[in-house]
């Protein structure tokens, strides 16, 4: 089973993140740029499937030149190769345009399965798997906490508010996974060394047959008008419990009309 895993480079969610003041895009220069944490679960799942069923695992990334770091990190876990879509015209692409670009690349790679994390930690939009499925005319099984494969049949457990759903589809399909599905492996030293030699193919918009006017700021279907830092919460009261902390807490809740 040939698998494509979508990987995104994002600003580290554990550090301060900003938007640029000039064009409202993510400020990559000031950020610590890392692989989207959720993607590691998708990579792990791909590697487990490969171990059981064979085939090839390809990492697919769209992003600037610097996203190479995230690709190498992904490859150090074990995938065979990577494809990096990089083109200056892509800057400022909205989700709709991004899905067009990724779908074009996936068509070229023609995998049996596309795996991705349930969301990116920067945008947290969660729409990409269904957008890709819509464009590719294949199934989307999203929010998987468990994935089983029998022949060409994929079955997932999808967490819902009420419990979970069991959803099934045939390959080819897009599957997104939550962080409860597995425990991602740490790259070994050997894996890190090997990743440096693994093939990374770069694709431009021209290679994908997409006009620059359809993507980036030029082709965006939505725009950020302005952004500002949210003022820090202030004016809070902090007390130390001296035997009456619970009562004081309830007194506060009473002044706020919660009790």
């Amino acid at each position: 089973m040939n698998i494509v895993v979508l990987v995104k480079q994002v600003p580290d969610s554990g550090a301060e993140r900003n938007l640029r003041t000039d064009d409202n895009t993510v400020d990559r220069a000031s950020a610590n740029n890392v692989i989207n944490e959720m993607d590691e679960y998708a990579i792990e799942e791909a590697l487990k499937i490969q171990e059981a069923h064979g085939g090839e695992v390809t990492v697919l990334t769209m992003g600037p030149e610097s996203a190479t770091e995230a690709i190498r990190k992904a490859l150090s876990m074990g995938p065979d190769k990577a494809v990096h879509i990089v083109d200056d015209a892509l800057r400022g692409s909205c989700a709709v345009a991004t899905s067009k670009v990724l779908a074009a690349a996936i068509r070229q790679l023609n995998p049996d399965l596309v795996l991705c994390g349930a969301e990116s930690t920067d945008g947290r939009v969660q729409v990409m798997p269904h957008m890709l499925a819509e464009r590719l005319g294949i199934a989307a099984l999203t929010g998987a906490r468990k994935l089983t494969i029998e022949g060409s049949t994929l079955t997932i457990e999808r967490q819902t508010e009420e419990g979970y759903e069991v959803v099934t589809a045939s390959t080819p399909a897009v599957v997104s996974v939550w962080d409860t599905i597995n425990e991602p492996r740490y790259p070994s030293f050997k894996g890190i060394m090997a990743a440096k030699k693994k093939p990374v193919q770069t694709l431009s918009l021209a290679d994908l047959g997409i006009d620059a006017a359809e993507v980036g700021f030029a082709g965006a279907t939505s725009a950020v008008i302005e952004h500002s830092k949210r003022p820090p919460r202030s004016g809070g009261t902090k007390i130390t419990d001296e035997g009456d902390g619970g009562v004081k807490l309830v007194e506060f809740l009473a002044t706020e009309k919660f009790v």
Binding site: M131, E134, T160, K229, D244, V247, L253
Partner: protein, 319 residues
């Protein structure tokens, strides 16, 4: 005034979800609210009264076993046809996993922009979003097509505006590509009588400091006093204290209740991402340096196993 389509979220057990009433309230600012019910046979009839109470002038009812029989795609297909036909002023959905997924498919089908996780929406379609763990406020607009926006629960207070909706039946016509992901089973997991985490007005969450699964009973007891939901930090979930579906934070649920009570939660950025827009925040933690106190409107430095039982007793006394 043009219609504003509101995609209804409902479940048999609870009826129309509160977030849908919030969407109907918001929709009135943009035009005439029309509710779209996508579900099995009988859905529209079951929900009509509630939808009318909150201002739905019309209900579009698409009822078919196929809508619930396959994941998301049938709903998007029906909705896309409806949007093309009635040319609404905007389409609003709940910012739930499914709401976002339907909106995503709709955006591709219509080649239309999409805005997710709005916490506010102006009459001109400008959405307010809070990003990067609550640190940054963003104003955005759809620049191609109509405003297609998913809105977070608890972004506005639902207010009634009684209307008597007319019901228009929509014939459900699906293609093969809408029926690729088949739902073979829906399993209800034990949840009790507590409200849904994202919809609750009060959320009481426990963290690593709660110490064990057994001790989460204390968190539940406090939540139940408020008729609230129970949440857990990632540390508590990873330690096996509480199930993952109740995780609040970066890789879990985002909540925005009137009152958020954090017990034994340090307030790592991973957790803050999921609760920072709560209206009032209260924290109990034994570490005076815990970052959660930077957010808390009221914080108690102390042992939660002393403070919380005392608070529970005091609340009972006052009731």
């Amino acid at each position: 005034m043009a219609e504003v389509l509101v995609v209804v979220e409902a479940a048999q057990a609870v009826g129309v979800k509160k977030v849908t009433l919030e969407l109907l309230t918001l929709a009135r600012e943009l035009g005439t609210p029309a509710a779209v019910v996508l579900g099995g046979p009988g859905s529209a009839e079951a929900y009509a009264e509630k939808l009318g109470e909150y201002g739905a002038a019309k209900i579009y009812a698409a009822e078919s076993e196929d809508i619930d029989g396959y994941l998301v795609a049938p709903k998007a297909a029906v909705l896309a046809d409806l949007v093309k036909r009635v040319q609404p002023a905007a389409v609003l959905l709940a910012s739930s996993q499914e709401g976002k997924e339907i909106a995503g498919r709709l955006a591709v089908k219509l080649d239309n922009g999409i805005l997710t996780d709005a916490v506010g929406l102006d009459a001109d379609g400008t959405a307010t979003q809070v990003v990067f763990a609550g640190s940054t406020i963003v104003k955005s607009k759809v620049t191609r097509g109509l405003p297609l926006v998913t809105v977070r629960p608890n972004s506005v207070s639902p207010s009634p505006a009684p209307a008597t909706p007319t019901v228009e039946r929509i014939e459900v016509q699906l293609g093969d590509n809408d029926k690729l992901a088949r739902v073979v089973e829906r399993v209800a997991e034990q949840k009790g009588s507590r409200p849904e985490l994202t919809e609750a007005s009060v959320v009481v969450s426990g963290g690593r400091g709660v110490g064990s699964a057994e001790n989460f009973k204390l968190v539940e007891e406090l939540a139940d006093l408020f008729g609230g939901a129970v949440g857990a930090s990632r540390a508590a979930v990873d330690s096996g204290f509480y199930p993952h579906q109740f995780q609040v934070g970066q890789t879990g649920k985002t909540v925005s209740p009137q009152l958020y009570i954090a017990l034994g939660i340090s307030g790592a950025i991973q957790h803050r991402a999921g609760m920072q827009t709560s209206k009032t925040i209260v924290a109990v933690n034994k570490d005076p340096e815990a970052p959660i106190f930077e957010l808390a409107d009221f914080g108690v430095v102390g042992d939660l196993f002393k403070v919380v039982p005392q608070a529970i007793e005091e609340i009972r006394k006052r009731k």
